[in-house]
């Protein structure tokens, strides 16, 4: 009580700062809780594996074990959701992250259900075949939770509160409609809802930054957050997300054929992982089969560019050499990559 009285006397900017500080503290707490949960869940799962491997276990005990495993996996998902909520959405280091919405929703669903009034119905139509979107999962989670908190307030007096999430694709974008049945917003709220610091909630319970931050975040990734035309029963916000850009080759359904001439076993293993991950095809190292791309190390480069007497490979495509450029032997067609920076290769193979 005393705190509120003091807070009311503070200038508006300072109050906002206090609220942001509180949100940041909650984020840190959520992150720590999620991390501790994960540290505890993994040993439980491993022990369950051990018990389940016991051959003389009665059928009933096996069923009990399976149920325990399901609960623990849900707990693990919940911990994952907490992590998503506590990540800094403006963190530059997460720029490259992509989201598979179907799996993202599996993580977030328990948190969304808990955030709504009891007995609320959450209906999600999020297809498993949607394209991957080019927005980090943590940013999307925070945008969605902000919308859900608004819906929660709007549905406080609704007899059968219901939140519906529906996805659709349109050209190179995925739309996620988030609809509640909370009666909708009045004209002024609809007009001003994206204004920073505009809120209909009591002071101290909201920053008034949720929608403006959400829109700014999606804009940053080439998407948008928009308010759909008024619906009969409530409010619909649409998250517009750009899909991951695919290369022209993969759009044509062709697999890029990659030849690897790498002696370092770890580098070779990493590259094979990238190739598999991208759905590309590896061409056997020392054959004459054509490849669209050859990735080699410095030692193998002479055989690739044909300056070595035993050059056997058929290089019809691009060449990437891993290591430090050797100007005296390198044609312009060779692109050099720092052996420590695999992110560059990831982009090349994308």
């Amino acid at each position: 009580m005393f705190k509120s009285a003091v807070s009311d006397e503070l200038p508006a900017e300072e109050r906002h700062l206090q609220r942001l500080q509180r949100m940041a503290t909650l984020g840190t707490l959520a992150s720590g809780l999620g991390h501790d949960l994960r540290n505890l869940v993994m040993p439980v799962l491993l022990r369950l594996d051990v018990v389940a491997a016991t051959t003389e276990l009665p059928e009933k005990a096996r069923n009990d074990l399976a149920s325990i495993r399901q609960s623990i996996l849900r707990l693990q998902r919940l911990a994952g959701g907490l992590r998503l909520l506590s990540s800094d959405p403006f963190d530059q280091r997460d720029e490259a992250q992509l989201t598979t919405l179907h799996e993202w929703w599996q993580d977030l669903q328990p948190i969304v259900v808990d955030a709504l009034p009891p007995h609320s119905i959450v209906e999600a139509k999020i297809g498993s075949d949607l394209p991957v979107v080019a927005v980090p999962p943590g940013a999307l989670a925070q945008i969605l939770i902000n919308l859900v908190m608004n819906s929660r307030q709007a549905m406080e007096r609704t007899t059968s509160p219901k939140l519906t999430l529906t996805t659709r694709t349109e050209q190179a974008r995925v739309m996620l409609d988030v609809e509640d049945n909370g009666g909708g917003m009045d004209e002024e709220t609809r007009r001003r809802c994206f204004e920073p610091y505009f809120t209909t909630r009591a002071r101290g319970y909201a920053t008034g930054l949720g929608l403006s931050t959400g829109r700014a975040l999606l804009n940053r990734y080439g998407g948008d957050l928009v308010l759909a035309p008024e619906s009969e029963t409530g409010t619909v916000f649409t998250l517009i997300m750009p899909v991951r850009i695919s290369t022209p080759l993969s759009e044509n359904g062709k697999h890029r054929r990659v030849r690897l001439l790498i002696s370092d076993p770890r580098q070779l293993a990493m590259l094979r992982l990238l190739i598999r991950h991208r759905g590309l095809e590896e061409v056997a190292a020392h054959t004459t089969d054509p490849a669209d791309l050859t990735i080699c190390d410095v030692d193998a480069l002479p055989s690739v560019i044909g300056t070595h007497p035993s050059a056997t490979t058929n290089v019809s495509g691009s060449i990437i050499a891993i290591g430090t450029p050797k100007t005296d032997m390198t044609p312009d067609t060779v692109r050099w990559v720092d052996p420590k920076d695999f992110s560059i290769l990831d982009d090349v193979l994308h």
Binding site: H35, S87, W104, R266, A269, M270
Partner: protein, 134 residues
């Protein structure tokens, strides 16, 4: 399937996890023992001495221990070592940093236990691995 013998070293302060992992790995064909690093400040020395098939390195170590530094030192001193990085805070940036510091693999603590075991087996088999929950 033929299973070559392999050993695992855990650089992790979470005793509950290490105990459970040892019990679980005992079910795996070829598993020949788990080594624990009791003193995190001597991790690199322990790896050099024991030369395990796989090192499971938790990057969320307490007391300001820099796991990336440990990883880099292991990679420098023992270029053939295979380190599998394990974390509760997986981010794209951390994956890239771990891989550029010499890791063979990266596993999130948010994956199911069978994926953790499979990741260990794959690194033993000479494959790189990245197991995130998505």
């Amino acid at each position: 399937m033929e299973s070559a013998a392999f050993t695992v070293m855990c650089i992790d302060d979470n005793v509950l996890l290490v105990d459970a992992l040892e019990r679980r790995l005992n079910l795996e064909p070829g598993f020949a023992g788990l080594h624990r690093v009791e003193d995190l400040s001597r991790s690199v020395e322990s790896v050099t001495r024991m030369n395990p098939s796989v090192v499971l390195l938790d990057v969320d170590l307490p007391g300001g221990v820099d796991a990336m530094k440990i990883l880099e030192q292991i990679a420098q001193k023992l270029p053939d070592s295979r380190v599998l990085v394990f974390t509760g805070y997986p981010t794209g940036d951390l994956v890239r940093r771990a891989m550029s510091h010499g890791a063979w693999g990266f596993v999130s603590k948010g994956v199911a236990s069978d994926r953790l075991i499979a990741a260990i087996r794959r690194v033993v088999a000479g494959q790189a691995v990245i197991e995130l929950e998505e």
